[in-house]
């Protein structure tokens, strides 16, 4: 049925392979666990996915611009350790801007090396992943940092608070998603990012400041990490030196699941949100069903491939690749 529709070019809905996969999967899970679709659980998953989600927004923009950012994981460790550590030392109203600035500096280094010097983004951000991890450890001396007075600080509102009954992390994530979606779809900067990612040469021939655009994508990515760090630090009220370890791949998986092409030039913020939610719901749903962690990994494997496959197949108009 789906197949024949795909073949026929299909209605618009079938082209949103990821959306189809998402819906199918949500239905399947809700049949298997009665708690899955409860309001509480949905809110809880939304809240949990905010940290990865906010980072994924930034990385989506980097990837549309034709690059990768694997340094977000250790950058998150850096930013969280910094904001939590400074919280008790200089107070949250100073800690936050200092941390944001420091994180933006790291983003600027990425942007300089990749945008201006044109070094390969995968390796640069891999190198930065290592460098930043080292910097965190040197900064903290390898010790965990904690906020002493967890109850009495307004810093708590970012990770634990709620406005009109909606958890702040969800509001932050949602707002950023909408803002970035608007930037990417309706503003010149978004067009420039698409162009640079799609064809850097042609972009330069069109007078687009390619270096500056790429530089900016890394600043945005760093900014997202800083926001994620505020949510994380406030939620946990403490930080380990390696809190963000491995997040880079989860973030990337979400971005890819959202259908953003690693080749650059195409992708969508809103679909990244879908990708983030999908990964979060898989994890949540399988725990609700009492499945062990390795089953979660196996299912994630299958879901990633099937969802992206549907997406690719829908765009191509046939299920299997025509390559012999």
């Amino acid at each position: 049925m789906l197949l024949t529709r795909l073949k026929a070019g299909g209605p618009a809905i079938a082209k949103q392979g990821i959306l189809v996969a998402f819906v199918v999967f949500m239905i399947a899970f809700s049949l298997m666990s009665d708690r899955f679709l409860s309001a509480d659980n949905i809110m809880s998953v939304f809240r949990q996915s905010a940290i990865i989600g906010v980072m994924a927004l930034g990385v989506t923009i980097v990837v549309i611009g034709g690059n990768l950012d694997l340094s977000v994981g250790s950058m998150l460790s850096f930013a969280t350790v910094l904001v939590v550590d400074l919280h008790d030392k200089i107070g949250p109203e100073l800690a936050i801007p200092v941390m944001v600035l420091a994180t933006l500096c790291l983003g600027a280094i990425n942007g300089f090396l990749i945008g201006i010097l044109r070094l390969n983004s995968l390796i640069v951000t891999l190198g930065m992943l290592s460098v930043i991890q080292g910097l965190v450890l040197i900064y903290s001396g390898g010790q965990n940092v904690d906020i002493a007075d967890q109850r009495g600080t307004w810093f708590a509102m970012f990770g634990r608070g709620a406005v009109f009954g909606i958890a702040t992390p969800i509001i932050i994530f949602g707002t950023l998603a909408v803002v970035f979606h608007v930037i990417m779809t309706t503003m010149p900067f978004g067009r420039h990012v698409h162009a640079v990612g799609g064809n850097p040469t042609a972009s330069v021939f069109s007078g687009i400041p390619r270096s500056r655009v790429v530089f900016m994508t890394y600043l945005i990515s760093a900014l997202c990490v800083a926001v994620a760090a505020i949510i994380l630090g406030s939620r946990v009220m403490g930080s380990q030196n390696n809190v963000g370890q491995g997040y880079e791949l989860q973030v990337l998986a979400a971005v890819i699941l959202g259908g953003t092409s690693l080749l650059g030039g195409s992708g969508s913020i809103l679909r990244t949100v879908l990708g983030v939610l999908m990964l979060a719901f898989i994890q949540n749903g399988l725990i609700l069903m009492g499945q062990p962690y390795y089953t979660q990994w196996l299912v994630t494997w299958a879901v990633i491939i099937i969802a992206v496959w549907l997406d690719v197949a829908a765009k191509r108009g046939r299920l299997f690749s025509p390559i012999a």
């Binding site: 070019g9 162009a195 064809n199 042609a202 007078g207 400041p209 195409s266 012999a324």
Partner: protein, 504 residues
């Protein structure tokens, strides 16, 4: 060609649809052994699509393919090859990092024991083929280092590697020089003499009439008819193709040149061009004519801020200009329609409208947002003006036919309303109708007060659009002709360096 013989190839009722496009609508086509059958049609008429169906790259929705009287299924290029069908692609289909020899024998490298490549045999055979094609380079050279023309020759060389039944040439001459064309035609005649059926796609009427035995015309994916070359004429073909006759005359309204808009003095980029000086006035079209590799593109790149000249001066509208980037050039009112539309002109996965407005998107805003209405207006205007064939502005540029892609790029730079418009090979791969429209457009633009530079390797083109022609050879300006004084002979001499001594 006796009628009793089976056609080497027969396509019947081929239908192929893409989302939103019925690219082929029941096309019939046949080629006899030893026949050169030309396939004609406007940009986007479906010629390349038909040939890709034949070569197993696309699956037809309906219809039948028969090779030598037997129905066949072409599900992959491998099968097509096995059936003796060779397709020389419109867009180069080469691996740039590999040698010419490897590219020629791609997919069927000669083997020794243990699956090793038999390099000696490979290079011997490849060199023999290149020699037949009178190529000056050796088969060992890496393709990336070859000029576009030579890359085209490598592509053509593939036709000679297998015992082909049918060879399809899809616009093989788009980037060849006249000398190379002559060689190609010899090869085609040679194949023909050996009984190979040949499909020849081109937008150049002279070639069609020199080479072909029959002409089939497609229009909007539909079969329009087949003519015998010997008993038809260009006008009839053109009418079948675009539904009207072409006016190929040059409007002889007295040109009205204004002030000097662009002045270049002693511009030098060692190894590429040296001591180049010229001026372009408002209302004037200056044609740069030369062989491929003469350095014309490089001059354009320098004017557009893409290349740093060693010395020399550029003045725009009387003022010395420091052009360090395309951005700066655009700010000065310079537009460049680049030579290579796919690499330099388009963001392929981007839609047509966005491609067209890309250089000005930052200016086309209401508040912080892109004014999409204004964009659409621009797109509509140039789609109509250039007769761009696309189902909607949302279509991604990647799936447009080659000619329509070129038109998008031209539209993109025209919409900038520049003071100096540089077009590099503007009509490469464009159908006769649109070509004549573009020529007319360039003349009109000049009349409206643009200073226009046209770089072209086609003599009729420069002769038709230019007010002045600058002939280049090996990075130097050999001679400047006023259009009234130019003769074909003197032009040919100038660009082949024959008059070099005379001038120096």
């Amino acid at each position: 060609m006796t009628a009793s013989r089976e056609p080497a190839l027969r396509l019947q009722g081929i239908v192929k649809t893409f989302p939103g496009v019925r690219a082929l609508d029941g096309v019939d086509f046949e080629v006899m052994p030893g026949e050169v059958h030309a396939l004609l049609g406007e940009n986007g008429a479906g010629k390349s699509t038909l040939m890709k169906v034949l070569a197993g790259m696309y699956q037809p929705d309906e219809g039948q393919i028969m090779i030598a009287g037997h129905p066949v299924q072409m599900t992959t290029p491998i099968e097509a090859k096995a059936q003796g069908v060779v397709l020389i692609h419109q867009e180069l289909s080469l691996v740039p990092e590999m040698s010419a020899a490897e590219n020629i024998y791609l997919g069927e490298l000669p083997r020794k024991s243990f699956g090793r490549v038999d390099w000696a045999t490979l290079e011997e055979r490849a060199n023999a083929i290149l020699k037949r094609l009178k190529c000056s380079f050796r088969a060992e050279v890496t393709v990336a280092n070859l000029s576009i023309a030579n890359q085209q020759m490598v592509e053509i060389a593939r036709a000679l590697t297998v015992d082909a039944r049918v060879v399809v040439f899809d616009e093989p001459t788009a980037s060849l020089t006249d000398a190379e064309k002559v060689v190609l035609f010899d090869i085609i005649n040679d194949l023909k003499a050996r009984g190979v059926g040949i499909v020849y796609i081109s937008h150049r009427m002279d070639e069609i009439f020199t080479l072909s035995d029959r002409i089939t015309v497609l229009r909007d994916g539909a079969y329009r008819g087949t003519l015998t070359t010997a008993v038809t004429n260009e006008d009839e073909v053109t009418r079948l193709m675009i539904g009207r006759s072409l006016d190929l005359s040059r409007d002889e309204a007295a040109p009205n040149f204004g002030k000097t808009m662009l002045e270049v003095r002693n511009l030098t980029c060692p190894g590429l061009f040296e001591n180049v000086s010229f001026t372009v006035r408002v209302g004037e079209v200056v044609g740069f004519y030369g062989l491929v590799g003469a350095g014309r593109t490089e001059i354009a790149e320098a004017l557009f801020g893409l290349r740093k000249p060693d010395s020399g001066e550029i003045r725009v509208d009387g003022e010395a200009a420091e052009i360090t980037s395309p951005r700066a050039a655009i700010a000065l009112g310079i537009s460049l329609v680049p030579e290579n539309r796919k690499e330099q002109g388009l963001v392929l996965q981007m839609n047509c409208r966005d491609n067209m407005t890309l250089p000005q998107v930052q200016a086309l805003t209401t508040g912080p947002f892109v004014a999409q209405g204004a964009e659409l207006a621009i797109f509509d205007k140039y789609r109509d003006r250039l007769a761009i064939k696309t189902p909607s502005w949302k279509q991604s540029a990647a799936v447009l036919s080659g000619g329509n892609q070129q038109k998008i790029v031209i539209g993109k730079w025209l919409s900038m309303t520049p003071r100096v418009l540089i077009v590099d090979e503007p009509t490469r791969g464009i159908d006769v109708g649109s070509k004549s429209e573009i020529h007319q457009l360039l003349r009109e633009l000049a009349a409206q007060g643009y200073a226009v530079i046209v770089i072209s390797s086609e003599m009729p083109e420069v002769l038709r659009v230019s007010d002045r022609i600058i002939a280049m050879y090996h990075g130097r300006i050999m001679r400047e002709f006023d259009i009234k004084d130019v003769t074909e002979d003197s032009l040919v001499q100038a660009i082949s360096g024959i008059s070099a001594e005379a001038v120096a």
